[in-house]
């Protein structure tokens, strides 16, 4: 048992987990305001990464400009999705809403690579590839920056819910009808939450795109993100932070030791087991609000 190996796995896992948190953040923002589980968030991350790549890689614009364009573009994309697709689903059974977002996921997963080419595109943010070496521990710089941005975005989201607009969103997440009755535009609040999810998708897309290249495989981030969301609680921002760390660390340490024994791929198993066990023992997650059903 090599202690440095364990520390390395833990640190890199924690940083990856914070980056999963970036993807999960979008899902939580949307679920909190409208009760829609957005299974298209992984595809939105991919679209955001393609957008950054198009502006920075194709047109040769500086990364900062590309980021600004992407943030604006994805904000509009999120609001448009809500306006065109989800708004018509209000009051429909949850299966229809879930299937709609899955349909959107499938559509985007075909559109992006179909139009722009399936080969992975590299997204260079100018981050040094040399790992940081502390003692015997190697830390990937991209993960470090990604983790930092993840923590920052989660912090920003927490802060956002203390602002005026954020308070409105909180009210909307509590009850749509009573929010209407005090003059809050529920439609606008839900649209804004979709826009913000689009912005979170840009952060996730840029960081994951620079780590593993921009292609359809970015959509598979949905699965760990779902684990984070389920474990943390569907409507909890704190939950994203804590569960992100848990999913990331377990998803790095367990495969680190078990993968050589069974031949790889245990990360998905760990993620699946986290989802299953959470659903079996505490369906509303660590911090989520327990749903009480009226008969």
């Amino acid at each position: 048992m090599d202690i440095a190996f364990l520390i390395e796995l833990t640190i890199n896992g924690a940083l990856t987990g914070l980056m999963y948190g970036l993807v999960a953040l979008g899902i939580v923002l949307i679920y909190k305001s409208s009760g829609v589980p957005n299974l298209a968030q992984g595809a939105m991350v991919m679209i955001a990464a393609y957008l950054v790549w198009m502006v920075a890689g194709w047109l040769g614009a500086p990364v900062v400009v590309a980021l600004l364009v992407a943030v604006l573009g994805m904000f509009l994309f999120g609001m448009l999705t809500e306006r065109v697709l989800l708004r018509r689903m209000v009051g429909q059974p949850i299966i229809m809403v879930v299937m709609l977002t899955l349909g959107l996921e499938s559509l985007l997963r075909g559109l992006g690579p179909g139009l722009l080419g399936a080969a992975p595109k590299s997204l260079d943010l100018g981050i040094d590839m040399m790992p940081i070496i502390v003692g015997d521990v190697f830390i990937n710089r991209e993960y470090l920056i990604g983790g930092a941005i993840g923590a920052l975005m989660i912090g920003l989201a927490l802060f956002f819910f203390r602002t005026r607009l954020g308070t409105k969103l909180l009210a909307v997440s509590d009850d749509h009808v009573s929010s209407w009755s005090v003059g809050i535009s529920v439609e606008r609040a839900v649209a804004v939450s979709w826009g913000l999810a689009g912005v979170a998708a840009v952060a996730a897309g840029v960081m994951w795109g620079s780590v593993q290249g921009v292609d359809w495989s970015l959509t598979t981030l949905l699965f760990p993100a779902v684990a984070v969301v389920i474990l943390g609680g569907l409507d909890s921002i704190h939950g994203v932070l804590v569960a992100g760390l848990v999913v990331g660390i377990l998803g790095s340490v367990v495969p680190g030791y078990v993968d050589p024994l069974v031949g790889g791929g245990t990360r998905d198993v760990v993620t699946s087991l986290i989802i299953l066990l959470t659903i079996l023992f505490r369906p509303h997650g660590i911090f989520g609000r327990e749903e009480i059903e009226r008969v």
Binding site: M99, G110, V226, I230, I279, L280
Partner: protein
């Protein structure tokens, strides 16, 4: 389909409770059945084994899933994993020398048992959480199949189906395979039609609509949810086995991946939740539309008016599934079956549409 109802008077309850109360319906279905039976004589082999047989088998799979999703209201996003369990079990049993008939039943039982273990999660949660639990099942089953060499025959291996006989007839030619697929689909169809009009079916529908309310009127939701999971997984497992033996003839884990689960859900949803004819229409639509569109695009590319990349053509099916699911949910949540039903009802009373019931 296009005939009047005038002059048809049922005088006994038994007559109205028949599977098809209208004589014209029975004649139409008899004609369709005759066509299906004569298909090996009428169609070239290519159409038989690359369009008709897969359509029938996927219909059987969609029927098994619609029993769970449409009638019992339990979402399942890992149905490809259920089919994979059935396919691998049947192949291993057949390889071990078990008769094919028993191997099929074994496949169904294995799929049903493992399906029930995950379905047990359904007893505690519903809706979104059930989606996530079955999604986790998809990944777990795929991983086990890939990583246990005894099951998959090695990491990248394909497992060929052995030579088998069904009811003493060797399954080697296209015709024999086609009739096997047809037979299984007919069994599934009749089973579903009869479940829907029996007390079990009505109990399942009660659980779907509101499980607490069902409990109040004396339907045990726990029992019926498990029953739905068991039956549906059994049928799904056998469909997977039939798919492996009658169509693929060599299986790899990728043939039963997450995308296939989505494809199955799309078939059920596009066809119409809980509808038997919808399963036929949905499976046909989801299977054929990408082929048609791909051919169309290839034809457009052949004209060389503007560049169409192969890459775009390769991604057509994904886009089509997505767009179809979105369009159906937005415009006709009851799917193609409802569209068919609307047209049928219109013509039943045509030209006196105000008499529509």
């Amino acid at each position: 389909m296009f005939y009047r109802q005038s002059g048809i008077h049922h005088t006994r309850y038994a007559a109205t409770r028949k599977l098809w109360p209208l004589a014209a319906d029975r004649r139409l279905l008899g004609g369709l059945l005759a066509l299906a039976l004569l298909a090996p004589l009428l169609l070239p082999e290519l159409y038989l084994n690359s369009y008709l047989a897969p359509w029938l088998i996927w219909t059987a799979a969609a029927l098994s899933l619609t029993l769970l999703m449409g009638i019992a209201g339990q979402l399942h996003f890992g149905f490809a994993a259920v089919m994979a369990i059935g396919a691998y079990t049947s192949i291993h049993l057949a390889r071990a020398g078990v008769p094919f008939e028993l191997a099929l039943i074994g496949a169904g039982l294995a799929a049903a048992l493992i399906g029930c273990v995950f379905g047990a999660a359904a007893l505690r949660v519903k809706g979104l959480y059930l989606v996530m639990a079955t999604l986790a099942m998809q990944y777990l089953v795929s991983w086990v199949i890939i990583n246990v060499p005894v099951i998959s025959g090695g990491a990248q291996a394909t497992l060929a189906t052995p030579e088998v006989r069904l009811l003493f007839i060797p399954l080697d030619g296209d015709t024999a395979l086609y009739y096997t697929a047809l037979g299984w689909t007919l069994i599934c169809t009749l089973l579903l039609l009869n479940i829907k009009r029996s007390s079990v079916g009505r109990a399942l529908v009660a659980v779907r609509d509101k499980d607490f309310a069902a409990a109040v009127i004396g339907v045990d939701p726990l029992r019926y949810k498990l029953l739905a999971f068991f039956t549906s997984s059994f049928l799904g497992g056998v469909s997977g086995a039939i798919l492996a033996f009658c169509y693929y003839q060599a299986v790899t884990p990728e043939q039963f991946g997450f995308n296939v689960s989505i494809q199955l859900v799309a078939m059920v949803l596009v066809g119409g939740l809980g509808s038997v004819i919808g399963a036929y229409l949905g499976a046909g639509f989801i299977l054929l539309l990408p082929i048609v569109l791909t051919n169309l695009l290839a034809w457009v590319a052949g004209l060389e008016l503007f560049p169409v990349s192969f890459n775009l053509i390769a991604h057509i099916p994904l886009m089509v599934y997505g767009a179809l699911i979105i369009a159906v949910i937005l415009f006709e949540p009851l799917g193609l079956a409802k569209i068919y039903d609307n047209i049928r009802k219109y013509f039943l009373v045509w030209p006196f549409r105000h008499a529509q019931r």
